[in-house]
């Protein structure tokens, strides 16, 4: 087995590919052309890299919201439920996003009903 084949088999294990594809790649690898193998290897390496990026994003989301939830739970335990100040930024951003989306919708609706000006 070549080194490229063994790397592919290793990456296949953790890949999100459908089971049928994993099975086919495993069994067809020895008879595939070099180019096919290289393309599959590149695809799986990119997948792995992207997966790591996405997992970092998930952890960033966790770190963003976890302190807010913990703070609320602590305040409940202390007998005085309170919404933490750090959560207000998130709410402000959400509200301004909603306002902006709503304004854009109203603007689009206005454009549709106004007669087009001829120059």
């Amino acid at each position: 087995m070549s080194s490229i084949q063994s790397i592919i088999l290793g990456l296949l294990d953790t890949s999100s590919l459908p089971g049928l594809f994993k099975n086919l790649v495993t069994n067809m690898l020895p008879n595939m052309s070099r180019i096919q193998q290289e393309n599959i290897l590149q695809t799986l390496l990119v997948e792995q890299k992207n997966a790591q990026v996405l997992d970092k994003k998930k952890m960033a989301i966790y770190r963003k919201y976890s302190p807010i939830v913990d703070s609320v739970l602590d305040s409940v335990e202390n007998g005085k439920p309170e919404f933490p100040l750090m959560g207000l930024d998130i709410l402000k951003k959400k509200t301004s996003q909603n306002v902006s989306e709503s304004s854009n919708l109203k603007l689009d609706a206005l454009k549709n009903i106004m007669p087009s000006k001829k120059v």
Partner: protein, 341 residues
Amino acid sequence: MSDEDKKPVAAPETPKAAEPVTVESIKKSAEKHITKLGVRFNKAFGALVHEKSVFDKMAGVFMAFAEDIDEVSDEEKKQKAETAAKVGTELLKSDTKDIVAAAVADAPETPDVVKDFYTVAVDAARTLDAERAKDNGKKSGETFATLASMTDKADSAKNDGKDKKLETFDTGEKRLMACYGIRFLVELKKKFTKDGDFKKEDFKKALDEFDAATKNTGRSFQILKSDHFKNIWKSGGSSWDAFEPLRDKLGLPLVNPIGMSLNSLKGSLQKPLNDNEAAELQKYFVPLFPKTSDADRAKVVQILSQIISSESKFPTNEQVAELAFHLDNDDLLELSKTLAG
């Protein structure tokens, strides 16, 4: 020596070697953290039931959290689909016989009839993949990849809903399944057609042999009748939307006469249509099967009514052979193309 000194001393514990950090371990850790955070959100909501203003603010935060998670999930799905399409493209560069050989590599005693059916299945997938890449804005390999991922969903061992949510068929997948099923039928029919003469009995016999050879293997058509399959079909995307192209072809004004005729004739199709009823109703199906003769169309409508009114709502091999016999190939191809979008 005191009693303390006489007690045997436990050997010091060997520190556990740290788990190697792999892509899989990072992924699992990230997912575990997000799941735990979801649980803590739930706990907070439960505790804030009587604190409306704090509850409302937490709800706003939760919605922002859910949107952030959705964005990452959507990106994940997109990347998963792209990876599968690219690998699908590479697999389709190989000959069908190599793909089939690889598919049955773990079962060397696979009968020829099964290999023949798999050959047709791969060729149909290859053709459909190329057509949809050319005519329907899909990427090369995408159709093949979607079909492959649907086999995972249909596998109750892989998709048991225990570790993660049960995966169901979305609207697009339902439509693709019907599209591919018809194309497969057309290709299979060709194998049993000689000099323009379709050998219906040989076709039916092959279906029976395939069923017998694949019974209990998880690679059988019988999967389509399983409770698991029915569940993921029913709980999935809208079937009404999935078959919208067919309704459009029938013409919306015609759908009501069909429904009214069925109701007036039978009342929700509890019994199959008889010859006269089928002959009467077939004219509404001309838009779907324009090249099929009136007599054949009546037969098709009658067989469809038999299937719908049966307990299993699933065609027998004889019914499949009859449908293949009576339906014009051009009509079948056109139907498949209608559903390919």
